[in-house]
C-alpha cells in the first residue's frame, strides 16, 4: 500500500494519507512526501487506513516535525483508530502534534 499526497487548491494545506502498515519500510516514501517541504504549510496526516504503526514510524513523525522547524511545525493527525491514538498518547505525542 502506498502513501498518497493531495494538495489543497491554494497549496497551503497538504494532506498525506498513510498506509495500513506504517513502519520502517515506509521510510523512503514518507520522506519524499515532505522533502521539498514548505515550512509554512499546514500538513495533515490522515491515519484512516492505518492499523499498525511501529516505533520507526513515530521516529519518522519526529523527523518530519524537526524538518518543519519543531515548535513552528503545523502538523495535524486525523482519523486515528483507538489503538493508534493510544500509542501516540503513551508517548505523549499529542503534546507535539495536534491529534484529532
Amino acid at each position: 500500500m502506498a502513501i498518497t499526497v493531495t494538495k489543497s487548491e491554494d497549496g497551503r494545506t497538504i494532506t498525506i494519507k498513510l498506509p495500513g502498515e506504517f513502519d520502517f519500510r515506509a521510510h523512503k516514501d514518507f520522506r519524499e512526501t515532505h522533502r521539498d517541504s514548505d515550512p509554512g504549510a499546514q500538513y495533515i496526516l490522515d491515519f484512516a487506513l492505518t492499523e499498525h504503526i511501529d516505533s520507526s514510524a513515530l521516529g519518522m513523525l519526529l523527523l518530519m516535525r524537526e524538518g518543519l522547524g519543531n515548535d513552528d511545525a503545523k502538523v495535524k493527525i486525523i482519523n486515528c483508530r483507538p489503538n493508534i491514538k493510544k500509542l501516540l498518547e503513551m508517548a505523549s505525542f499529542h503534546q507535539l502534534f495536534e491529534v484529532a
Binding site: 520502517f24 516505533s55 520507526s56 513515530l58 521516529g59 519518522m60 519526529l62 523527523l63 524537526e66 503513551m90 508517548a91 505523549s92 503534546q95 507535539l96
Partner: protein, 576 residues
C-alpha cells in the same frame, strides 16, 4: 591451461564431439572462423576427458557414438561441472520428439540439426556463451556476498562481547526478580538494568529503543554507564531521568528515542517510585487480594525526544505490601503476533491477572499465555518482561561488591569540612550523594557507604523537611499520605524566603578504625527531643522507619541546642 574452474581465455574454447571425422572438420572450421579455439573428441569417453583437461566454454555433442554415446557423456559432464554452467548443444539428425526430450532430460541445453548452417550454429553458440558468462558473474557475486556476510557476523559477535562488559546485568540475578530477555538478533533493542542503591534499595531501568538490532542497541552504552554511575552515587529517579534524557537528546538523531521506565524500590520494598515515559502500562498486583492493584499509564515523553526543559519528571509513588508484584515489559509482549497477524494486545495480558492466580505463578503463566498465542509464528520484536517481588531485602555483601567498582585513591584520613546550604541549594542540589561519595573515598570506608548514606540522608532530610520547612511526618501515615506530603513539601520549598542548613563533617583515623562525626544544624525552631527520644526508644513514634535505623548504625546520636542540631558519630573498623 590446466584445471582451473573458470576458463579465463579471452578466446572462448569449444569442444566438438562427433564420431564422424568430416562433421568434426566442418564444425571446427565454422567455430574457428568465428574466433573460437576448438578441441575435438571422437566419442563420449574422450569428451569427458577433454572436459576434465580443458574446461571448454561450450560443447557440441553428437548422440550416436561408439564406446559411449552423447546422452551418457552429457550426464557425466553436467555432474562434473557442478555449479559451473557449461552449455551442451546436441548435434542430431533426429527430429523424433521423444529423442529430443531425452536430450533435454539428460541436461542438454539446445539442438542443432543437419544440414549445419554456420549462421544458426554461431547464433546458438553465442547465445549459450552469453548465458554462461552471466551465470559465472552471478555466482561470483553470490560468493562475495557470502564471505562478506560471514565477516560481518563475526565482527558483530566480537562487538557483542565488548558491549556486554559495559551493558552488564547489574543486580538482575537477585532472588526477588524474575525476567525474560529475548532479543530478536545478536543485539537487543530492549535494555534491562538493575542496580543496588547505596541505601540498600533497588533501581531498575527498562528501555525500548526505536527499531532493533545494532542501531537500537548502541544507545544502550551511554545509558548503562550513566545509570550505574548515578545509582552508585545515590541519585534519585528524576535525577537519573534528566541525565539520561540530556545525553540521548544530544547523541541520538531526531527520529531515534528511548521509551523507558526508571524506578526505585526502597530498601524495605515498601515504597515504589517510578518515572514512566512511553512504555506500555506498568502493572502492580496485590498478592493478598490476588488481583491488580494499579495500572500505571505513561505520562511523559520517551527519553531523547525533547530537551530537559520540556521533559516532565513527574514520578509516581506507590505503597507496596509485602509480596506485591510489579510488572514491567516492552511492547514485544503486547505486540506479539500469531499466524493471523493478530496482536496479543493489552486485554489478553490483563486477563492473565484476572484468574485469581497466586502471585508466585503469575510470571510463568504470562509467558505461557503469550507463547501459546503466538504458536509457531516467529518472534517479530525483542521480548522483555520483568517481575519484581516486593519482598525480601536481598542486599548482601556479595551484591554490593559486584556493583561497587570505583577504585579508591590515597586520601587524607584526618579531615573536616563544612557546607552551608540555603534555599537554592535545597532545590538544585543533592548534598547527600556528594557527601557520601566524598566521605567514602577514604580507603576502607567504601564498604560502609550504604550506612553512611542512610545516616546522612535521614539526618539531612529531617533537617530540611521538619526543621526548615516545618513539615510534620505524621502526614505520611495518612491514606494517600505520601502524595499529600510531597505536594506540601514542594509548596513550602517554593515559598521559602530564608532558611539554611549547615553540615559539618569530621573524620579521624586510628590504627585500624575510624570515626566519622556528622553534625547537622538547621535554622528551624527545633523540637522537644527529650520526648521524641523516649517515643523512639519505645517504638511509639511515627517519624518514619529511618531514625531507629540511624540510631542502630551510629555509636552515638544526640540532639543539641533547641533540637535543631543533631550530631551522629559513626565508628568503623577496617575489614581485613
Amino acid at each position: 591451461m590446466g584445471n582451473s574452474i573458470e576458463n579465463d581465455h579471452l578466446r572462448k574454447l569449444a569442444l566438438v564431439v562427433d564420431d564422424d571425422a568430416v562433421n568434426r572438420m566442418i564444425l571446427e572450421g565454422m567455430l574457428s572462423d568465428s574466433g573460437y579455439d576448438v578441441i575435438t573428441a571422437e566419442n563420449g569417453q574422450q569428451a569427458i576427458q577433454q572436459y576434465v583437461d580443458h574446461q571448454p566454454d561450450v560443447i557440441l555433442m553428437d548422440i550416436m557414438m561408439p564406446v559411449m554415446d552423447g546422452y551418457q557423456a552429457t550426464q557425466q559432464i553436467k555432474t562434473l561441472a557442478g555449479e559451473r554452467f557449461v552449455p551442451i548443444i546436441f548435434l542430431t539428425a533426429v527430429t523424433d520428439e521423444d529423442e529430443l526430450a531425452r536430450c533435454v532430460r539428460v541436461g542438454g541445453d539446445d539442438f542443432l540439426t543437419k544440414p549445419y548452417s554456420k549462421v544458426i550454429i554461431m547464433a546458438k553458440v553465442e547465445a549459450m556463451t552469453r548465458m554462461s558468462d552471466l551465470y559465472a558473474t552471478t555466482k561470483r557475486q553470490r560468493d562475495e556476498i557470502d564471505i562478506h556476510n560471514e565477516q560481518m557476523l563475526a565482527e558483530q559477535k566480537v562487538a557483542k562481547k565488548i558491549y556486554s562488559r559495559v551493558v552488564h546485568e547489574g543486580c538482575l540475578d537477585t532472588p526477588n526478580l524474575k525476567y525474560i530477555l529475548s532479543p530478536l538478533s545478536i543485539f537487543n533493542g530492549d535494555l534491562l538494568l538493575a542496580a543496588c542503591t547505596p541505601s540498600g534499595g533497588l533501581n531498575i531501568l527498562l528501555g525500548d529503543a526505536t527499531g532493533h538490532g545494532l542501531p537500537a542497541a548502541i544507545g544502550a552504552v551511554p545509558v548503562s554507564d550513566l545509570f550505574y554511575e548515578l545509582t552508585e552515587n545515590g541519585a534519585t529517579v528524576d535525577e537519573i531521568v534528566l541525565e539520561i534524557n540530556s545525553k540521548l537528546k544530544n547523541i541520538l538523531p531526531p527520529e531515534f528515542f528511548f521509551c523507558a521506565c526508571v524506578c526505585n524500590f526502597s530498601n524495605d520494598y515498601r515504597l515504589f517510585t517510578m518515572w514512566h515515559g512511553g512504555l506500555p502500562d506498568v502493572l502492580i498486583y496485590s498478592a493478598e487480594n490476588k488481583k491488580l492493584k494499579h495500572v500505571v499509564r505513561s505520562t511523559n515523553f520517551p527519553l531523547g525526544v525533547v530537551d530537559n526543559v520540556q521533559l516532565k519528571t513527574d514520578v509516581h509513588i506507590f505503597d507496596l505490601s509485602k509480596g506485591d508484584r510489579v510488572y514491567l515489559y516492552s511492547d514485544g509482549i503486547t505486540e506479539a503476533k500469531n499466524k493471523e497477524r493478530e496482536e496479543f494486545g493489552e486485554e489478553r495480558l490483563l486477563s492473565c491477572f484476572e484468574k485469581g492466580k497466586s502471585a508466585d505463578d503469575l510470571f510463568d503463566d504470562i509467558l505461557e499465555t503469550v507463547n501459546d498465542f503466538r504458536g509457531d509464528e516467529e518472534q517479530s520484536d525483542d521480548l522483555t518482561l520483568l517481575e519484581i517481588n516486593a519482598d525480601v531485602n536481598v542486599l548482601n555483601d556479595e551484591l554490593l561488591e559486584k556493583v561497587v567498582s570505583t577504585a579508591t585513591l590515597p586520601y587524607p584520613s584526618n579531615w573536616n569540612m563544612n557546607m552551608m546550604l540555603n534555599k537554592r541549594d535545597f532545590i538544585e542540589t543533592n548534598p547527600v550523594s556528594i557527601l557520601t561519595k566524598f566521605t567514602t573515598q577514604v580507603d576502607g570506608l567504601m564498604q560502609h557507604r550504604e550506612n553512611i548514606f542512610i545516616v546522612l540522608s535521614e539526618l539531612y532530610n529531617n533537617a530540611l523537611d521538619h526543621g526548615v520547612l516545618g513539615l510534620d511526618s505524621k502526614l505520611k501515615s495518612e491514606p494517600d499520605g505520601f502524595l499529600t506530603y510531597i505536594t506540601l513539601r514542594q509548596e513550602r520549598l517554593t515559598d521559602l524566603t530564608d532558611g539554611h542548613i549547615v553540615i559539618s563533617l569530621e573524620h579521624k583515623m586510628g590504627d585500624n578504625q575510624g570515626e566519622l562525626i556528622i553534625n547537622i544544624a538547621d535554622s528551624g525552631a527545633g523540637f522537644d527531643y527529650g520526648k521524641q527520644t523516649f517515643l523512639m526508644e519505645n517504638n511509639m513514634d511515627n517519624s518514619g522507619r529511618g531514625m531507629p535505623l540511624v540510631k542502630s548504625l551510629c555509636k552515638e546520636l544526640e540532639y543539641l541546642g533547641e533540637g535543631n542540631q543533631v550530631r551522629a558519630t559513626y565508628q568503623w573498623k577496617k575489614s581485613s
